[in-house]
Symmetry: C2
Subunit: 83 residues, 2 copies
Amino acid sequence: MSAYTATVTVRLKHGVLDPEAETTKQALERLDFDLEDLRSADRFEIDLEAESPENASERASEMAKRLLANPTIHDYDVEVDER
Amino acid sequence: MSAYTATVTVRLKHGVLDPEAETTKQALERLDFDLEDLRSADRFEIDLEAESPENASERASEMAKRLLANPTIHDYDVEVDER
C-alpha cells in the first residue's frame, strides 16, 4: 500500500449556465481587468492509501460518480500523484 | 497578442477550518469509501489575451489578489497555458 493524492476536478458541462462565474467575470471587469471568459470548477484533493495509482484513480472516480459530481450537469477528471 | 488560459487555484491556508470538506469526507466514509483526508479548493479558468505568458500570469495573480482570493484565509497559485 502506498500513499496517493487523487485530485478530482468537477466542472459544469458545456452549455450549463454558471451565474456565479458570470458574476465573478463582471466584477473583474468592473475592476478594469480585461478577460474573455471565466469558468469555475470545484477541486477535491483526496489523500488515500492504495495498492497502485490505478486503484487510487478508480476509487476517486467512484467517489466522483457517487457523491462529488452530479452526472446530469457535471464532468469530472481525476489525476493521481504519489505523496 | 496571444490567447492564454490562466488557471487560478484558491485553497484555504493550512490551519483554517474547512467544515464543508469535513462534511464531504464524512459523507464519503458513510458510503464506505476509505480515505485519509479531503481538501477542497476553488478553481477559476480565465481566458485572456496577453503579450506573453508572463503577462497573462501577472494579470491573473492580480485578479486573485484583488477579488478571487481572500489573503487572510487563502493561498492561491496560477498556471498559464496557451490556447
